[in-house]
Amino acid sequence: MADKKYLLFLGCTIPARGRNYELSSRAVAEKCGIEFVDEEEFFCCGFPVKNADWMACTLMAARNIAIAEKHGLDICSLCSACTGVMAETNEHLKHDDKLRAEVNKKLAEINPEYKVEGKITVKHFARILSEEIGVEKIKELVEKPLDMLKVAPHYGCHYLKPSEVHNWDNVEDPQTLDEIISATGAESTQYTDKKFCCGGALLAYDQDTALTVGNHKLEYVKEAGADAIALICPFCAVMYDDNQRTIEAKFEKEYKIPVLYLPQLVGLAMGLDAKTVGMNLNKVKTKELLKKIEEAKPVEA
């Protein structure tokens, strides 16, 4: 019996390019007693058109919020960009009566069933794990402590910022992902410029700059001797995982740093097998990492 019920928001990138994130999140949610409800009518969160037209972005986010309100359920989003833009829109609509009236009028022209009343909240899955499940419960659920691993947390940007929207963790010294990593038994690696952006949002605009920003963090993570990065956004994974070989070639480096979605790490610690958390779908090979886990802690029959 699930204790907590959320409408799962996948966005665009996860169902197409981040199925390892989706698999591991669903599996970890089940372990934690979170029930995910799927909704076919959700579409893009609006973030990719925010720079073109603020109102188009607001309407797209508002449409998703209106659908969630029909269910009477809060949204759990896996992607930080989706979380950010929908949480921000939700805040605007809750507190700005004039904007809400304007948006509802426009939404009704698109579909008469859509109306935002400000009844739900939008939360990132990592925040739900930290805030609603809690590290103590996660520790209890750990079956295979990953104390042989050093894992570098990557917070990215829109999980925490803008703080006036999220009002969560500490923007200048974030801890929540470090705490979850520690709960798995792994050491959370401290490294220079831990709060640095991945640069992924610039890939379509200035690839050189984007990859230089991506390289910046990989260099420091490598220097700190981390076995892996753990992150919570598919945009960040596109940069560090999908583009790691491109970055290595461009900057003549060798990183070979596995990039895990945080629920993959948590899932492994909870005793889920590698395939269940989609480790075979990671771009940077995770074989050595999995071997390190197995060799340190032989699986007991």
Binding site: E22, M60, R63, C157, G199, A204, T212
Partner: protein, 172 residues
């Protein structure tokens, strides 16, 4: 001459004092005139760290001075990654990340559309998603035990039409 090199001479007749007010009318741009050029934004910026072309303090100053044409023809408009580092630290609540987004909106509505903007918006207009979901993807998902994802919706194109974004990205 590059836009940077042109910085050396300013004819007052080339400046547009209304520019800052036009930016302030776009959601996110409201607080631009609070800026007292302390530079905390630039010091906090991860893009500035790797690329000198992007300097938020300078961009804000150029807008306040009314250097509209020079701003609009400069690629730096598109270099803000939207990370909010500057916005969190700005002592004057300029809401710089939102302001940079307002500047992008202004550029697009004035016909200055970076190819990346249209490239991201076009598939959303068509399907409601930035990455198309084909039958192939749904079959793959099914194999993994994941639920089907609806491949297409027309409601995104309706939103584009309602806001005029379809015309700006040459769709519709």
């Amino acid at each position: 001459m590059s836009p940077e090199a042109a910085q050396s001479e300013i004819a007052i007749t080339d400046l547009n004092p209304d520019f800052k007010y036009e930016i302030a009318e776009i959601p996110g741009g409201e607080n631009i005139r609070y800026c007292f050029t302390c530079g905390t934004c630039t010091a906090s910026c991860p893009i500035r760290e790797v690329n000198d072309k992007f300097n938020p303090r300078k961009i804000i100053r150029m807008i306040i001075l009314g250097m509209k044409e020079k701003v609009l023809k400069n690629d730096f408009i598109w270099l803000c990654t939207g990370c909010y580092s500057c916005q969190e630290r700005c002592p004057q609540d300029v809401k710089i990340t939102d302001l940079m987004n307002a500047l992008k909106n202004y550029a697009v509505s004035h016909g200055v559309v970076h190819p990346g903007v249209a490239a991201q918006a076009a598939p959303i207009y068509d399907d409601g998603r930035i990455y198309a979901i084909e039958d192939f993807d749904n079959k793959k998902r099914e194999k993994m035990g994941l639920p089907r994802v609806k491949p297409k919706t027309e409601e995104a194109s309706k939103i584009f039409k309602a806001t005029g974004l379809d015309k700006l990205i040459k769709k519709g």
